[in-house]
C-alpha cells in the first residue's frame, strides 16, 4: 500500500464555476477540472454559478480535446425520501462523459455502484473521511478510487494514511480554508436555515449584507454581525468560522482569521507523503482567479516534479483577508 515509494507527478485538480472558467483552467494547465450542476446536488450551489447539462457536455468535450479530465461534484446529502435529483445528476454526469463523480453520501455511492458501475467514484471531502478505517470502508464497499482529505490533517498524518489505504489521496493546496469537520458543520445552518451539507450553501448570499458604517465595512449574516473591517483592513467572507466576536470584553477571531490556504511551498513534502492529486478550491471565484492560481501551480508542480527550487509566485492579492496560511499541514491548533 505504500505509494510514497513510487512518487510521480502530482495531478492538478482545478475549480470551474462556469464554462469560461473551465476553459480558463484547461488553458492554464489543469490536468483535471471539477465542477457541479446548477442545483443543490453540489456544495457550491451559489446563485448564477455552475453548469447546465449542455454546458457540462460541451465542457467535457473541450477538456478531453486538451487532454484534461472532468470530475462532477455531486457531494451534498440527498433530501430524505427524495433522492431523485441526486440520482439524476449521477446519470447525467455519466451521459455527458464525465471521468468521475465526487460523492459523499453512502446511499448515493451505493446507487452509483449498482446502476453506474463503470463510472469512477471519488470520495468527497464532504464525507470527512480522515482515518484509515473510514477510507478502507469506502474503498471496500463502494470501490472508491480516490479520497479527498479534509483540511485538518498534518503532512505526517497524510503520509501515515497513504501507507495504510488502498486508494489515491487528493489534498487541498489553495483557496478557502474550511476548518470544521466538513460535511458535518451546522454553523451556517443555525443562522440561515440553509445547510452547506444539504442545500450546498455555506453563508448563502441571500442572507449576507455588507454595510458601510462610518469608515467601517460591516459584514452581516442574517441578523448577526460577523465582522467589522477598518478602512485599511482587508475584508473577508461572512462565514461564522472566520468571524470576529466580542467575548467577555475581548474582540478576537475565535476559530480562524479571514485567510486562504496556500501550500505551494509544500508540494515536495506532499509528493513524498504519497499524495496523488492537488486540489485548488474556488468554484465560486472568477476566471481571473482560476487563470492566475492554476498557472502558478502548474509552474510549481512542474518544478517540483523536476526536483527544482520552487519559483517565486506571489498570490497574496487573491487571498481572503489578504493573508494566507499552510493550515493544518504545519499548524498547531488553538
Amino acid at each position: 500500500m505504500n505509494k510514497s515509494l513510487t512518487a510521480k507527478k502530482l495531478e492538478l485538480v482545478c475549480p470551474a464555476g462556469t464554462p469560461a472558467s473551465l476553459r480558463a483552467a484547461v488553458d492554464a494547465g489543469a490536468d483535471t477540472v471539477y465542477l457541479g450542476f446548477r442545483d443543490e446536488t453540489n456544495a457550491r450551489n451559489f446563485p448564477g454559478l455552475n453548469f447546465s447539462r449542455r454546458e457540462l457536455a460541451d465542457g467535457v468535450a473541450y477538456a478531453h480535446d486538451h487532454n484534461a479530465k472532468v470530475l462532477v461534484a455531486i457531494n451534498t446529502f440527498p433530501k430524505a425520501g427524495d433522492p431523485e435529483a441526486w440520482h439524476q445528476a449521477v446519470r447525467d454526469a455519466e451521459a455527458c462523459g464525465a471521468d468521475a463523480v465526487i460523492l459523499a453520501d453512502i446511499g448515493l455511492l451505493a446507487y452509483t455502484v449498482e446502476h453506474h458501475p463503470k463510472l469512477r467514484r471519488h470520495l468527497s471531502v464532504q464525507a470527512s473521511a480522515s482515518n484509515k478505517e473510514a477510507i478502507r470502508f469506502y474503498a471496500r464497499e463502494f470501490d472508491v478510487k480516490r479520497v479527498v482529505l479534509p483540511r485538518v490533517l498534518t503532512v505526517e498524518e497524510i503520509a501515515a494514511l497513504n501507507d495504510n489505504i488502498p486508494v489515491e489521496t487528493e489534498v487541498f493546496v489553495f483557496g478557502g480554508l474550511c476548518v470544521m469537520a466538513e460535511g458535518r458543520c451546522s454553523l451556517s445552518s443555525y443562522v440561515t436555515g440553509q445547510s452547506p451539507n444539504m442545500n450546498g450553501v455555506c453563508s448563502p448570499a441571500s442572507h449576507v449584507r455588507y454595510e458601510e458604517v462610518g469608515d467601517q465595512l460591516v459584514s452581516k449574516l442574517g441578523e448577526f454581525t460577523i465582522n467589522s473591517f477598518g478602512e485599511d483592513e482587508a475584508a473577508g467572507y461572512p462565514t461564522l468560522c472566520k468571524g470576529r466576536f466580542s467575548v467577555e470584553g475581548s474582540v478576537s477571531y475565535l476559530f480562524e482569521d479571514p485567510t486562504s490556504l496556500n501550500a505551494i511551498t509544500m508540494l515536495d513534502a506532499l509528493m513524498k507523503a504519497g499524495v496523488t492529486a492537488l486540489k485548488i478550491e474556488g468554484r465560486q471565484r472568477g476566471r481571473a482567479y482560476v487563470t492566475q492560481v492554476v498557472s502558478a501551480f502548474r509552474q510549481a508542480v512542474d518544478a517540483a516534479s523536476r526536483g527544482e527550487a520552487m519559483p517565486d509566485l506571489d498570490m497574496s492579492l487573491l487571498t481572503e483577508g489578504g493573508q494566507d496560511t499552510t493550515g493544518a499541514y504545519q499548524k498547531t491548533w488553538r
Binding site: G48, Y289, L317, G322
Partner: protein, 181 residues
Amino acid sequence: MAARSKSAEKLSPLKVATFLMRPLSLMPLAPLQPLLAAALAVMRRQHPAVFERLDELGEPLFVIDPIDLPFIFAMRPAGLRPSLLAQREIDTDQATAIIRGPLPMLIDLLEGRLDGDALFFSRELSVEGDTEAVLVLRNAVDSDEINLFEDVLAILGPLAGPLRFAAEARNAVVTGWNAAR
C-alpha cells in the same frame, strides 16, 4: 503575481475612450444613451448564456458607479425591458445593488481579467445592497468570454474594420514602445 494582471495594464482603445469621455461632465448625456442601448442589445445577442443566468433575478436595477466618471450607469439587464442608461444621479433606494469602483477596473472585471472577490477583499471594489443579486451578476458576466471592444465594434458595422485596424496598430506601437523602454 498580482490580481491585476499585465494584460489588465494594457491600454485598450476602450480605456482611451474612457479618458476621452471625461469632458462629458460638461456635456449632456443624451447622445450617449443610444450608444449604450445599442451596446446592451449587442451584448444580449453575443452572450445569450450570460443573460439567461440573470433571468432568475426578475427585473433588478444595478447602479454601476465608476468613481472616476461624473455619472453613473443604471442597468436593468434582465426582464422584459432591459436598459442601460447614463444618469447624473439616481434614487439609490430604487437600486437592487450599487457597485462602485474605478471604470478601468470595472471593465477589467467585466472582461474577466480581474477577480471580483480579490478586489472586494482589498477594498478596491465596493458593493451595497442585495449581495445575492450582485453574485448572480458577477457569475453571469464571468460565464462567458466578454470582450467589450469587440462587442462595441459589432455595433459599428462597416466602420468596425478600420477601427480594429487602428486599434491594433496603436497597440503594436504601445507594445513596441514599452519593449524599447
